[in-house]
Assembly symmetry: C2
Amino acid sequence: MGQRPTILDVAKKAGVSKSTVSLVLQQSASVKESTRVAVRQAMADIGYVYNRSAATLRSSSSGLIGLVINDLRNPFFAEFATSFQMELAQNGFATVLANTDEDPLLQSRTISSLIEHGVSGFVISPAYGQEEDTLAVIEAAGVPTLQVFRALSQDDDRFPFVAPDYKLGGTCATEHLLEMGCKRIAFLGGLNGRAVTQERMSGYLDVLARHRQEPVILTGEVTRRFGKQMVAKLAADHPDVDGVICFNDLVGLGVLSACVESGIQVGRDLRVVGFDDIQDCQDSFPALSSVSCHIPDFAKTTAAQILSWINDGVRPNDHQRSEVELAIRASSGQP
Amino acid sequence: MGQRPTILDVAKKAGVSKSTVSLVLQQSASVKESTRVAVRQAMADIGYVYNRSAATLRSSSSGLIGLVINDLRNPFFAEFATSFQMELAQNGFATVLANTDEDPLLQSRTISSLIEHGVSGFVISPAYGQEEDTLAVIEAAGVPTLQVFRALSQDDDRFPFVAPDYKLGGTCATEHLLEMGCKRIAFLGGLNGRAVTQERMSGYLDVLARHRQEPVILTGEVTRRFGKQMVAKLAADHPDVDGVICFNDLVGLGVLSACVESGIQVGRDLRVVGFDDIQDCQDSFPALSSVSCHIPDFAKTTAAQILSWINDGVRPNDHQRSEVELAIRASSGQP
DNA sequence: CTGAAAGCGCTTACAG
DNA sequence: CTGAAAGCGCTTACAG
C-alpha cells in the first residue's frame, strides 16, 4: 500500500504551505476560495486521506462517541442505538458501541477502554451495580456523559439524565384500561426495586388508588418468556384480572403469544398494554397497544444534546423527561 | 481537568526512561519483572491513562474495527452485531458501528469516514448497489475487510466472504416439510434476484424437483408485514399450500401472526419454517421452526478471522460457508 | 490571507 | 535490560 499521502504532499502538490492545507481541512473561513479549491483538487488528485489520529493527538478531539448499553439484544435498545448512530453520523461523529450485558464490571472496563480511545463523549444506559466504580472512571476522565433511560445514581447530579416520562406512561396506560371497562388491572414484569419499575408502576398505582381498585403486581424479568409464564399464573391466581400493563413490550408480546396459545381473546377477555412501542408492536396479533417513547425522536434529542455539550460546552439539564404517548391498538380493545 | 499524565510523568515517578514505560505498556517480555511492577504502580499512583491516538499515530494500528451493517434494525443483524462486538472487546478491540440502511451512498461515505478514523479492519454486511464505489474506497485504503452474509461482488475475490450455508438451509427446511407430509410448499419473501434469495431458494427448488412438486414462489420484502400479507394471498391464490418456507424469521413471524388472526392452525393446516433462528422464534406462538445460522458462533468465528488477519496477517479463505441446522419447533408440526 | 516552527504523546530503531 | 533521539501527521499560536 506504500505510504499514504500527508498534508505535506497535498501542500506540495497545491503549491501552498501545510498550514493552509490544515486550514482547508478545518473549513476555516480565512482561506481564499481559489486556494481552497486548489487544495481540494490536489487532495483528490493524489488520493489524500485525512488522518484523524494525528488530528486527535494535537487537538484532543476524536470525533468518536461512546455508546454504552446495558442490553443491546433487547430490540428497544437496538432501535435506539441504530437511530442514535445514524444521527451522529450525519453530524460527522462516529459511534463506538459496547454492550455491557448488565455486567457492571464489564461496564467499567468498557468505559476505561473507550476513554483510552479518546471518545469525546459518552451516552450510557447503565447496568445496575457498583455504580461508584463506573462513575469514578468517567469522572476522572472528565468526558461529557449523558445518562439515558436509567440513572446510575438517583441522588447526585454528576451526570445529566434524560428518560421518557415513565410515570406518565403508567398513568395513561392505566386510565386507558379503566376507560375500556377493565375491573381488575395487573402490572407485569420489571425488576422489583429498580427506579424504572417504580416509576412505571407508580403511575399505575396512583390511578388505581383514585379509582379504589386493588393492584395486582407480578414483577420479574423483562422478557417474552416471563410474559408467557405470567398468563398461566394470572389464570391460576388472579382469574378476575381483565387488563394488564406490561413493564415493556417484550413482556407484552409474551402475554399475547400465551393468550393465543390458551385461547384467551386479547382485547376482549384480556386487554393488554405494553411499554416502549418497539416496531414489533405493530405486527403482532393482535397489534400491541403500547406507551410510545418515540425512540427515533428520543435518539435525535440525545444526539443533539451530547453534541452541543461537546461542541459548544452546553451541559444538558440534570433531569429531563421526554414525552410519551399511548399508542392504542387492538390488544387493548380498539378495532 | 488539567493535564492528563503522560508516559513521561510515569517515567519520572517510576525512575525509568519513557521508553521503558512504553515497553511495559506493550507487554514487552524484555522488561524486568520488578521494573514492570514499579511502572504499573507509578501509573496507578498518578492516574495515568493510555492515549491510543498517540500510539495509533506512531504505530498505525488503532485497535478499532469498523462494523458496517445494511440493516441494523433487523434483529438478526442486531444479534450478530452484539455478539461480534462483545467478542472483539474480549480481545481488546473496540467496535465502531454503522448502519447503512441499505443505502450504498451512505455506505461509501460511512466507510470513508471510518477509514479516516484509522480502523484496523472492516467487517461488512453490504448494502446492494454501486458496489464498485464501495469496493474502490476500501481497496484504496488497503484495510483488511471481511464480507459477511452478503457479497458485494460474486465474481471477484477482492475481499473474503463468509456466510451461512444458505442453500443447505433451504434444502433441510424443504425436506423437513416433505417428511411432515406437506403436499404443496411455498417459498415466501426475499428480494428477487439477490444472491441470498437465490441460494435459499435453490435448495428448496432442488428438493421439490426431486419430488416432482411444483414450486410456489412469492418473493418480496423481508418483513413481518410482508409475511402477514402473504397469508391472505396464499389463501386466495394458492389454497392448496400446506407448508411455507420463509426467507427469514421476520417473514415467518408475520405469517404466524396472520394465521392466528385468520384462524389457520399453524403446525397442522399450515406448516411454517423460518430462516436465521433469531431469539424471537422461541417465544412466538407457536414456536417458529427455523434454519439456525448459529449467530453467536458465527460472530465469534468472524471476530477470530478478522483479528488474525489484522494481528498475524492471515487472510481468511475467499469463500466460506458456516454450518446451518434446522431447529424444529411447533410451527412445523412437532409437539 | 499564508508560512515557518513547535508540539500533541506515543513507538521505534539504535546504542549501550 | 534500559536510555536518548527521531518521528508518526496533524493543529496551533505566532509572524508577516
